[in-house]
Amino acid sequence: MVQALELKALRKTYGSGLEALKGIDLSVRQGDFFALLGPNGAGKSTTLGIVSGLVNKTSGSVKIFGFDMDTHPVDAKSRLGVVPQEFNFNQFEKVFDIVVTQAGYYGIPARIASASAEKYLRKLGLWEKRDSAARLLSGGMKRRLMIARALVHEPALLILDEPTAGVDIELRRSMWEFMNELNAHGTTIILTTHYLEEAEALCRNIAIIDKGVILENTSKKALLGKLNKETYVIDVVTLPEVMPVLPGAEFTVDDEQNLVVTIDASINLNRVFAVLSAHDLVVRSMRTRSNRLEELFVEILGRDAVGSQTS
């Protein structure tokens, strides 16, 4: 089966000498909801910039649905929609015109473009603002405008670069629903985000990039399976005078007077509850301290940093 996106030995060295990508290979299968994660400066934006045609690669190849960006750019680009991190539309143009004009760049006639623009502006709650100048929209509306613009030509592959940055929780949730709906209808989605709970909630496969190298590229399930430790915050009625003891688990108390337990992946929670019961501790509630992907992300990047220092 043809991959939605296939990068081979992709390399980018900027004029300053900075080697942003060190020959990465990456495949995203059709219909996937894929996360590309990494800290600032890891190479995410460079990778997506090359795929989008905004950055010149130094070497390597990019294929979109089997079409090489160098030899078949029209076939490749017409299957791609891009929602960038920064606002990149004419702030003085009307919302409707921005979306219809983008469709025109794809060779879509005005009548069809107008219908498609209306469809996505309505879906994203911007139809009432269609005659407003883009600069008058709120930050969340501007992000949704960029999504509508990226979808107006019905791309098979959608790249979302930090789509929910600076968006309130309610809107973020509604955008998640919209992305899931798009993916369910067959659109392959590649997402970059700093909200790791977003990647954990939405994506099936995840790649982690740092310093221009892909450190992990696997399914979310397999990735989370690598998590060695997990930390839970337990709200107990009364804190114990003596900390419970359990091999493979470490109990502490945090600043908010909660009981905190960090356990190895091999320990199941029943054993933790058994120890709590043995100490007559009454549990009111329990939650993970950070999301699992976030813990793993920090662990992988930490491992890489140590590896870099020792190698």
Partner: protein, 257 residues
């Protein structure tokens, strides 16, 4: 892209460009109308009446073709350089870069936008001039061809300037320090036969002299230079600037990192 899709993409850019300069008509169409009216009044009527004839024609008649051409040159150039640099500045140029639109269509669309504004302003100035003098077009074909080719040439120049520019100052340098002096010294207000032989020879290196004179020939039937040679030169410049623009677009000069 199919031929129809390319046509849609081209007309999208052209319509966007026309809509842009029409929306801000107070900055694009009105100023040249006011400036040229002042030229007609001051140089044509007040000073021109004391000069008498130039090149066998009334002075007002003589300067009208040059002033029309000057408006076309500055406006075609300004339209493309300001619009495309504005897109770079606001990053909306990325809308074009992610799309499958071929580079030559991008160039054709912006050049057509520049030509549209150049011709619109040229028409406005010509109509205004009719309030001051009587114009009889000597050769319609030469007149139309010259004005269109000149607008294309300077739109291409504006496009290259926009690609190279990194700040707003960069888009003002060429019009202020190159275009304006070359236009004023390109025979808009005088016939180069009035100059001493040395300065006549120097003037021959000014490309705008050829455009102004070819256009003047189309309207009045008089010229200081060879019309055929002038067309060859204009077409040659267009070919060079087109090739340069396409090369820069393909390599992402000024628009891709």
């Amino acid at each position: 892209m199919s031929a129809y899709a390319i046509w849609v993409a081209f007309s999208t850019i052209l319509v966007k460009e026309i809509r842009r300069f029409m929306r801000i008509w107070g900055q694009t169409l009105l100023p040249p109308a006011i400036t040229m009216s002042l030229y007609f009044v001051i140089f044509g009527n007040l000073i021109g009446s004391r000069i008498g004839e130039m090149g066998g024609h009334d002075y007002m008649e003589f300067i009208v073709p040059g002033l029309v051409m000057m408006s076309v040159i500055t406006n075609a150039y300004a339209n493309v350089v300001s619009s495309f640099f504005g897109m770079k500045f606001q990053r909306s140029v990325e809308e074009l870069l992610v799309s499958p639109i071929p580079y030559w269509v991008v160039l054709a669309g912006y050049v057509a936008g520049g030509v549209a504004r150049g011709l619109a302003v040229g028409l406005i100035v010509t109509l205004l001039s009719l309030g001051f003098t009587h114009l009889q077009i000597h050769h319609v074909g030469v007149t139309v061809l010259t004005i269109v080719l000149t607008a294309i040439l300077f739109s291409l120049g504006g496009f290259i300037n926009a690609l190279l520019a990194t700040k707003f100052d960069d888009i003002a340098i060429v019009p202020t320090f190159i275009l304006t002096p070359l236009t004023y010294l390109g025979g808009v207000f005088y016939s180069i036969t009035l100059l001493p032989p040395f300065w006549q020879t120097v003037s021959q290196f000014n490309p705008i002299l050829y455009m102004v004179n070819t256009f003047r020939y189309g309207i009045l039937g008089v010229s200081d230079i060879d019309i055929g040679g002038a067309f060859v030169m204009i077409l040659g410049f267009i070919a060079i600037l087109t090739a340069t623009s396409l090369y820069m677009l393909k390599n992402g000069k000024g628009i891709r990192s």
